[in-house]
């Protein structure tokens, strides 16, 4: 049986924002800048460099009209921005308060927690942009954690993707303060007259350059804000975690304390040491990571043990050649050791930890003068084995999960991938990797360590990065995923009701009713619950079962609705209702138009019947 369904082609569709959003998205695609990383739809035309000081650039691309700030200017901006503005700071407080809300059905896994953080970073990024484009005032009012709406779409639109934003600046002004702010700026910097006329006045290259420069400064400032944001969140969580301990856990049911658990776990067991930040505790609710780390430590110990054997040389095993200019071995060991120490013990925010990883990279590539990754990776593995930094794995995963993904790109991602690859290599060592002579000499317990790869024993939850590319829509989806069943259900009901009641759905039905409903629906759910669904780890958990039940319930319900729809449809529609499918409008006669109108009327009434039935 063919199923009949409204064409839910875009699960991100939010009718309240439809017009603004569609223009925004279009503008992004229309501009000549097409950044591969599409998680930056609201980034400006000039935003080719993410503002990293240590970022290695090729020749300047000034010919393209791209304005770039010098390193000194960037450093100056960073120096001058030591604190987050009140508005942005309060956003972080709201987020933390929201995290503490006892609204989750069960303790959040690290992956779920990470998705909440990523969603927040996106929101913060957008709000920071708007804050700056309003000249440092949050004209649109303080954002709330529950709304991902108008404020940010305004921001997106104010931007209007670079140049078009300059040309049509007053587009998004729904707020008088906004307007005043912009006009002031406009008259002072860009336009000679402060007219309300929306005509597109030509700008001189200097003016465009100036505007680009302002944009670029804003971008750098946003980067700085984001760094401060990461710092502030984790520092605040550290404090708050100490303040709310067991008393908070008492009220309500046990089910309601999961997030607090997470926050508490940010702090070590002893509240007398508020500065001690142990990343490991964050992973408490996700035993796979703990298990992986334990096995990795066992392997590391095993390899160190092998080094004592005559028949094993770690240098030879890793192919570290003597031609490599390792320089002063001891001082280098000390340097690398201190970087590891900094990474693991002295930094809190993911950004700080990332900086340490980059420092490690820099230290090894400049001090040792390694030219290719062949040597780099070998040496990195060598240092990890020799220095055996505790909890390196957790720290690596922590950066992956909690560093703002939009910023975890290019050199940061490369350095982190190298570290990750080194740990993966160690984890995947088995007896097969060693010479037979050596294996023959090993005791049983030593052999057991290298019995199999860690990945064969433990599968880490898969974190889907694409989930965060949809901006605020993504965040709400994720939140729904991790909230109570009712909310998820409601979101679907609301979603469907919007479509059912719109003319669009009626016309859409006429156009195409072939795609099976289940596919569409399943797609929606597979997107909303992507984290959990993709993770084999959850295969036995109740959460997964719950999701599965939810999904199948919804599917069943949808199927049911479709049968009803199709019955009603067949009962009321003329048999030849599709005969105008391929007609050109210009060729239609008045009588035919009338017939089409009749069909339309019937579709409307059918739709109402469906809606009533549904209610």
């Amino acid at each position: 049986m063919k199923l009949f369904t409204p064409p839910i082609t875009n699960p991100n569709f939010d009718p309240a924002q439809s017009i603004r959003e569609s223009y925004g998205v279009k503008a992004v695609f229309q501009k000549p800048v097409i950044v591969q990383n599409e998680s930056e739809p609201f980034k400006m035309l000039t935003a080719s460099n993410s503002g990293k000081n240590d970022y290695k650039e090729g020749p300047s691309t000034n010919t393209s009209g791209v304005v770039k700030l010098t390193k000194e200017e960037i450093a100056e901006i960073w120096k001058n921005t030591q604190e987050l503005p009140m508005e942005l700071s309060s956003m972080i407080d709201d987020f933390i308060t929201d995290l503490k809300e006892p609204k989750y059905a069960k303790p959040l896994s690290i992956v779920e927690l990470s998705s909440l953080f990523q969603a927040f970073y996106i929101k913060f990024d957008k709000f920071a942009f708007q804050y700056l484009s309003n000249g440092g005032s949050s004209a649109a009012g303080a954002p709330t954690n529950t709304s991902s709406g108008g404020t940010f779409f305004n921001a997106k639109e104010t931007l209007s993707s670079g140049l078009s934003g300059i040309f049509a600046r007053s587009r998004s002004g729904s707020n008088t303060n906004n307007l005043r702010g912009r006009r002031n700026r406009r008259s002072s910097s860009l336009f000679s007259s402060d007219s309300n006329n929306n005509a597109t006045q030509m700008l001189t290259p200097e003016e465009i350059g100036q505007m680009m420069r302002v944009n670029e400064i804003n971008n750098v400032t946003i980067d700085r804000y984001l760094e401060l944001c990461e710092n502030a969140i984790f520092k605040k969580l550290l404090q708050v975690g100490t303040a709310v301990s067991s008393p908070m856990k008492k009220p309500n049911s046990n089910n309601n304390i999961q997030c607090i658990n997470n926050e508490n776990s940010l702090v070590g067991q002893s509240s007398s040491e508020p500065e001690a930040f142990n990343v490991e505790n964050l992973f408490r609710n996700t035993p796979e990571y703990i298990q992986y780390n334990t096995l990795l430590n066992v392997k590391l110990g095993g390899i160190l043990n092998l080094c004592s054997h005559d028949k094993f040389s770690l240098e030879d095993f890793l192919g570290i050649s003597m031609t490599m200019d390792i320089g002063d071995n001891e001082s280098l060991f000390a340097t690398i050791d201190s970087v590891f120490h900094q990474l693991i013990d002295e930094s809190i925010s993911p950004y700080d930890k990332m900086k340490s990883v980059l420092q490690l990279h820099t230290a090894m590539t400049t001090d040792i003068k390694l030219m290719s990754n062949d040597d780099y990776l070998s040496l990195l593995i060598y240092y990890i084995i020799m220095l055996n930094p505790q909890n390196l794995f957790f720290n690596c995963e922590y950066i992956k999960l909690f560093r703002y993904r939009k910023k975890l790109v290019e050199n940061e991602l490369y350095a982190l991938t190298n570290l990750d690859a080194a740990l993966t290599f160690i984890g995947s060592l088995t007896l097969e990797d060693f010479s037979e002579d050596l294996v023959a000499e090993l005791a049983e317990c030593e052999k057991k360590v290298f019995e199999c790869k860690i990945s064969d024993k433990v599968t880490l939850p898969v974190v889907d990065t694409n989930n965060f590319r949809n901006g605020s829509n993504g965040s709400s989806k994720l939140l729904h995923t991790s909230t109570e069943p009712m909310i998820q259900n409601n979101s679907y009901e609301r979603f469907r009701a919007v479509f059912d009641s719109s003319l669009r759905s009626v016309l859409g039905k006429m156009r195409s009713y072939t795609p099976p409903a289940v596919t569409t629906l399943y797609k929606k759910y597979s997107q909303t619950s992507i984290e959990i669904e993709r993770s084999s780890v959850y295969s036995n958990s109740s959460h997964d079962k719950y999701l599965h039940v939810q999904r199948s319930n919804s599917n069943n319900k949808h199927r049911q609705m479709d049968s009803i729809n199709s019955i009603l449809f067949n009962a009321t529609m003329p048999n030849d209702w599709k005969k105008y499918k391929d007609s050109e409008f210009d060729n239609l006669k008045i009588t035919e138009l009338k017939e089409i109108f009749d069909i339309y009327q019937k579709l409307i009434s059918k739709n109402e019947q469906c809606s009533n039935y549904n209610l």
Binding site: I34, N37, V66, S164, A168, H361, S372, L377, Y414, A421
Partner: protein, 207 residues
């Protein structure tokens, strides 16, 4: 600006890093005396699309070529737009190893998602002494044609064909991206339509 991730694959000592250094820094270090680290490198090139200048930025990821690290490669070529599979034309078995990389990429990433460029390096050695060549040009060319790969022989030492290689990849990726964007926009040409009225415009004379 278009930005693409390009990953370098190939056995160790085929000259992957030298190719990148030649491309990015226009330098070549015979012995490993370079002060340039194995850092993440990026380079921009300019393309000409019917008179319109297009900037393409490559984000270049070097990988460790040793056999023992082979299983780690997917971590590096994940989300890559292009791959340079490098072999050494003075090493007999080198092309075969390159072939395994090509197969792996085709199996794991898929032809449609990645542009693969087969590069035979160390051309300068063979130009001096043709007896040093152990991988024939024709054989490699034939293989590349069969597999639908781009193919070139280069010398990182002299810089021969290095820029051309990246230029060609840039053009190829640009074409792919252009088609994609046009498809996404349903035939839209990619120009900014500034004249389109905005229904949200509160200051517009029509509102």
């Amino acid at each position: 600006m278009l930005q693409f991730k390009l990953v370098l694959l190939g056995d160790s000592s085929v000259g992957k890093s030298s190719i990148v250094n030649r491309f990015v820094k226009d330098s070549f270090e015979d012995l490993r005396e370079s002060t340039i680290g194995a850092a993440f490198l990026s380079q921009t090139i300019k393309l000409n699309d019917n008179g319109k200048e297009v900037i393409v930025k490559f984000e270049i990821w070097d990988t460790a070529g040793q056999e023992r690290y082979k299983s780690l490669a997917p971590m590096y070529y994940r989300n890559a737009n292009a791959a340079l599979v490098v072999y050494d034309i003075t090493e007999l078995d080198s092309l075969n190893k390159a072939k395994t990389w090509v197969e792996e990429l085709k199996n794991k990433v898929g032809d449609d998602n990645i542009v693969i460029y087969l590069v035979g390096n160390k051309l300068d050695v063979c130009e001096k002494d043709s007896s040093k060549r152990l991988v024939s040009l024709e054989g490699a060319k034939e293989y590349a044609k069969e597999q639908g790969l781009l193919f070139i022989e280069t010398s990182a030492k002299t810089g021969a064909n290095i820029k051309e290689t990246f230029q060609e990849i840039g053009e190829k990726l640009y074409d792919i991206k252009k088609t994609e964007v046009n498809t996404d926009l349903d035939g839209n040409t990619g120009e900014i339509e500034i004249s389109k009225p905005s229904t949200n415009d509160t200051t517009s004379c029509c509102s």
